[in-house]
Each structure stands twice: as C-alpha cells, then as structure tokens.
Symmetry: none
Subunit: 223 residues, 4 copies
DNA sequence: GATGAATGAGTATTCATTCAT
DNA sequence: CATGAATGAATACTCATTCAT
C-alpha cells in the first residue's frame, strides 16, 4: 500500500516489459542481462534487485506474454454471443498474432518451446506452466463448443468429443503459424485457415446449410 | 576419386553424424564444438579442417537429419499401393518420431525452428532450406491424394484442393507433436490423430461407408 | 546524555552484535553488509549511519568479541584463590570455546588471524590491537604464576621466567585448538591438554607430590 | 611419455607455482584467477585448460606447498643420526619458515586454516587432507622419539606417550609461529622455543645431565 | 534519523577459433 | 593432415557504498 511498494511493482513491470522485448527478439540464451538492463534504462545490478536470476526474469516475461495474449483474447470474445462467430474469432485472432509485423511474439513462442523441450532448458522443469497455458486455451474452445451444442447450433453428438476437437484445433493453429513463420509466409495462411474451418464447421454445425460460413468469416474480418 | 578424397568425404560424414547427435540433444547454442569433436573422437582443431564455422557444421547436420527423415519416409511408403493406407502410414510415422523415447529429433526440429525465426539465427537467412523441406513433405501428401483421386478412391473434387489439404495436414501434425512434447504427453496424441484422420478421411473418401478406418489404422499399427 | 545519544549507543551496540554474529559464521570477506543489516533488523543504509565502512564494523565486532572473552575469563577466575586451580581453569575454559558445538568463535579467531597476516587485511595495520589482546591474556597467566610463587605453591625460580612460561602456554593453547578444529576433532584435545598440564605443573609446583593433578582437573571439570 | 605430456606437466607446474605465489600473498578469496594468469604470463582462459576451477587450483597450490615443506624437512633430517639433534632440528626449521622475510608461507598456512574451518571454505569438505598433513608431521616426530627410546637416549616410559608428545609439540610450534606473525615478532620466538625445548628434553631424556642442550641447540643453529 | 533503490566495478568461467608443431 | 594448446571476448551475478526521499 505504501508508495514504495507501488514503485517496486511499477519498476518490476518495467523490467519485465524490457525483458519481454529483448527475449522476444533474441531468445533466452542469446539475450544478455546487460541488454535487458540497457533496454530498461537501468544499471545491470538493478535487475538483480528485482529478479534473482536470468531464468526468473525469463519466466516473468513469458508470464506477461501469456497473460497479455489470453486477456486480449478474452476481451475480443467478450461481446460475442453466437458460438460460431466466437469460434472463428478465436482462430482468426490467434493467427493474427503471427501476421502482425512486430510479430516477435512468435519468436518468443518458439523460444518457450525450446526451453520446454531441452533438458537444462528454463522451462524443462516447469512444463506444467506450458501445459496449463495450453489447457487454458483448450478450455475456451471447449466452452464455445458446448455452448453451441446447448444453443442447438452445433450437433449434440460432438459434446462428448469437445475436448478432442479443441485439442486438434489448437494443434493445427500452432502448427500453421509456425510453418508460416518458418517459410516466410510462403503459405497463404488465412486461406488455409478458411479451408480448415469450412471442414470443421461442416462437421460440427447441426444445420450447415443455414450458415454462410464465408459471410461469417468476412464479417468477422471486417471488425 | 583419389583415396584422400574418399577419406575426406568419410571423415566429413563422421563429423556431421557426431554433430547431429550432439545438436539433437543440446540444441545449437548449448552444443559446443569440443563436445562434437569428442563424440567424433577427433581433436577440436580437426573440425575446422572440414567445416569453416560451427554454423556450417549445424547446417550440414540439419541436412543430414532432413535427408534421413525423408528417405526413411520414402522407403516406408515404397511398397504400399492403397492411397488411404499410404496417407495413414505417413501420418503415423511422422508422429512416431515424437513418441520414440529417444525423441531427440523433436529437439532438433524445434531448434531448427528457433534458428529460422530469430534474426541472427543460423537459419534466418537460409529459410528457403526449411521451406524446401516442408514443400518436399507437402509434395508427398499431395501425390498420395491425387493418386487416390485417379484411382477412384478419393472424391474427384478434392484434386484442386490437394495442396491445401496437404498443407493443413502437415500443420496439424507438427502442431500436435510439439504440443505433446511441450506438455509431457499430457495429450493422448495417437487417439487425437485417429480422431483427426476420421474427419479427414470422411471428407475425402468417395465412399466412406466402404472403408473401416479403424481396421486400416489398426492394421497399419500392427506393422 | 540526551536520549538521542543513548539511542545511538544502543543502536550501535545492536549493530555490532549482529555484525559479530555474522562475521563469526562467515568470516570477513564472505559476510555481507546486507546480511548484517538483516540480522540487526534494520535497513542496509542505516549501517552506514553508524559505521563508515565494513572494515570499521569488523573492527568493532572483533573488539566486542575480545572484550567478552576476556571479561568472561575474568569472572570465571574471580572467586578462585588457589593458583593451580586458577591456571587449570584458565586453560580449560580457553579450550572449551573450541569444544562448544556453536564454536563460531574459533572461526572468528582464525579470521582475525587472516586479517592480521595478509597485506590488505583489515587488521594488517592494526596488529597492535591483536598484540594487546595477547598481552592481556599473558598478563593473566603471569599473574597467576607469580601469585603461586608468592604463596609458596610454585617454585620460586620460575618467577623470572613467568612471562616465557605464559607465552608458551598461550601458544600451545591456540595451536591445539586450531589443530583440533582443522582436523575435525581427530585429536582428543582434553586428554592432550591434561598431558601437557601434567608436565607443566610438575615443572612449576614446588611440591608436586602434594597435589593430585587429576583430582584438581576433575573437580574443575565438574563445575 | 610423448613430448606433449611433458609440456603439459611443465605448464601445469608453472601455473601451480604462480597460483601458490598469488594465494600466499592474497589468500584464496582475495586472489583472482586473472592475477594468477598474469603471474604465470598466460591468458586467463589457459588456466582453465589445466584446472577446472579456482578451487582445484588452490588445492594444487596447497599440495605443492605442503610437499615442498615436507620434503625440505626430510632432506634436512636425512643425515642426522642423534635423536635429540633430529628433534631440535625439526623444531628449529619448522619455525624458520616463519622467520624468513619472504615468509608468505605463513599467510598460506592461515589461509588453509580459514578454508578448513569455514563452512563453504575450499577445504571444509577436504579436511582429511589437512589431517593427513598433520599426521605426516606427527609421524616424523613420533619416529624420532621412538628411535631415541630404542637407542637408550630417551626414557623408555615415553614410548607409550610418543604420539601425545608429538601432537603437543606440533600444537605448540604452530601456535607459537602464528602468535609471532600476528604480533609482528613482538615475542622472541627462538628464545621461547629454547625454553620450551629445555623443559621437553628434560622430561624425555634418560640422562639429562649428560647433555648440554644449549650446546646442541647452538651447534644446530650454526649449520 | 532511517530507508532501500540504484549503482557499477569486479569475478569466475565458457568456448569458438587460430596456429605452431 | 591432425593436433590440442592458447587465446580473449563475452556473460551472469555480487556487493559495498551512495543518496534522494
């Protein structure tokens, strides 16, 4: 409550932000604490007043990234009622992150991967954090599907497979965005996604003929 | 043709193999030239008689990995005629790589990702190599699909979308295997894949009712 | 006399006490001002309101240690009249310091040694302080010896050598306790001491046959 | 056997020598690897081709010191037959080390103490090395005593106490030399030692009246 | 007077690369 | 051709001390 605590939190946030910027561009191992300090415009030692190790700083930066990602998704979906529109909005905006020109977030995403897979990686012993993040996203999709079922828009029989569908959708989204980045946008990812979503929606909609998916997609893109 | 050249090629291959072993476990930056030399049972300085830099060595190792991956896939598909079985075989064995206990190949795959995405990454200016690798895989799948169409097993109308379908399948496969690794096998990837393939095959088979997909999958798994 | 001065003295004493605790465990260079501040439950900066440097703080702590050591010895000897008992009490309690499980005092003692011997050591230019401390102890022993002579218990001819005897006894005591600590109690120091004292007392007692040294030692140990 | 091995050993010895020089003056923690490298006139990194850590380097330096000390003692005693002369020679030359003007060895000795006593000290978990060193010295003295007994020069009854006598003598020697160093030669250590040795020899000689200790000492000092 | 945030110089250690043998 | 000794730049982290509040 005291002003000091507020300053401390503020400074912690500043450093974390700077760390996120640097880690996103350089990755964990190539980034140096000195660079992060310079970015935050503070002395190198000051970093260690707020974080014990470079690893801790990395974790904080990743958390900031994940939280920002999730909350921006949540606010996007906030005022949408129609389950189909929600689903399409979710997938579109997931990939938008990779289409943005400042898309360093993708670099960070791969870096998290790296640090999760390699023994001695920062996240190797913290894979539960990654898992929880993925489960959070899966929950969002699962809820959309079940909501659609209860509203009579999606087929009732998909309810029992909602988690599987959600898991597969997430896998596709991540695989697609990585391929895109790796190949310098060689694939036209939006049209690939539309194609995937047409198959998916045809499979889950109760009355596919009542929906013009292209219109829904176009409408969503317009916002 | 001279014995020296033969020795040189042989030694180059040995070093590349050792490099692949080390890079697969440690990743590019954590791997040291000394470790690679030790693995190849030669002196550190000798490496530099065959490769100019650590980067060159990494590129050679990745090439060796990709070539081995592609040729093992080719030989797997070599004696299979039925397009559906070919398709399923392809997807199964792609994921098998990630299910193997010594699945260091996944680590390397992510490392390639990392080095492709990061500015200053080894592969950042060689992303065309990654693209060509992906295009090679896409070509295999596309050919399977077109073969199925011409044999009257897959729907004729998918011919024009064969590349899109192949691209999406690859994206799903990579996304799924990465998620699996990241989350310590929290997701049951084989059953997820089966689920995905059921939807896919229902969409592309001309007469889905004539095929018992589960039987085909089980049969394939048996081999 | 003003309350502020009293507070200042009290606070100075608290900090010195905390410093002694930390220096005793960690030694001068491994101890950090931050740890001392934490032990004293004050802020790091506050230390520098009371002491100019870490060196000054160390000197104050050592003084506190030496004073405490000497005054506890004095009070131990206060009510003992018999010179032989006084002598044995002195040696026993000197070594007791090293037998106590929390024998951090030994660490400090060696640390003082270190800082006295090394050029650039805190005590290198203050060795006179160390010398005075040793002279203080020598004085105590010398007085015991001379008292014994005047009481007709010790041989008269040792009077002229009293200082030499005292110096040698101190050297033996310190050497013995250091060896003990260094070797993890490999030597049975109490029995070594008894052995040493038997020789010593036989040399200085006027009528050794009148004394049962073991009884005197046992009696002393009982207190 | 190959020249390379010889060079490696030679270089290892050079570095160890440089390390001993620096550690002797600065102590373990104040000495820096850079200073040692500069003293050895090699690059900092080269140190790590020969020693894994600063700790290993310290241990090697201490071993060099101890070995040198022990072998110089041995060669001194080599051609002396008379047990009493051997005993006096041993004590004299032990203290000589501390009287030499370049007596940095004493600093190192205290540093070893420090590193043996402090938790986290380099020698804390290697105290057995220190113990073995002390036991080596004790063995030398014990042998002298037993030799004297068997030659009919020392009293037969001291045979059973030979180890205790040796232990006490060592303790005295170390304590005395430390006090001397700490107090800037305030005590006249040679005369203190003579005094101590007179008592000791009177206690152990079978016929003290047959020996003129002062003459023996003077004679020894003359060499 | 008390605080604790900020500093920046200092340290051990790693490693790609070179080059004399 | 092969070696491996030598290099030195780079990096994470520590801590005594200062100073604005």
């Amino acid at each position: 409550m005291s002003p000091k605590i507020i300053n401390r939190e503020k400074r912690t946030a500043e450093i974390t932000r700077a760390a996120l910027d640097v880690f996103s561009v350089k990755g964990y191992s190539a980034a140096s604490v000195g660079q992060i300090a310079a970015t935050a415009k503070i002395a190198k030692g000051t970093i260690y007043e707020y974080f014990e190790t470079k690893e801790d700083l990395y974790i904080a930066a990743v958390m900031l990234f994940v939280d920002g990602f999730q909350s921006s998704l949540k606010s996007l979906l906030e005022n949408i009622d129609d389950p189909l529109t929600r689903l399409i909005t979710f997938t579109k905006s997931s990939l938008d992150i990779c289409d943005r020109n400042d898309a360093e977030t993708t670099y960070l995403f791969v870096d998290i991967l790296q640090q999760s897979l390699l023994k001695n990686g920062v996240f190797y012993n913290r894979r539960y954090l990654v898992r929880e993040m993925l489960l959070g996203f899966r929950k969002i999709i699962t809820n959309i599907l079940l909501d659609g079922v209860s509203k009579g828009i999606f087929k009732p029989e998909i309810a029992k497979d909602a988690e599987k569908i959600a898991t597969n959708l997430l896998a596709f989204l991540d695989g697609a965005s990585l391929h895109t980045k790796m190949t310098e946008n060689y694939f036209d990812i939006p049209s690939q996604l539309d194609y995937f979503m047409q198959y998916l929606t045809q499979s889950i909609l109760l009355n596919p003929e009542n929906y013009d998916l292209n219109a829904t997609i176009a409408e969503q893109a317009g916002n």
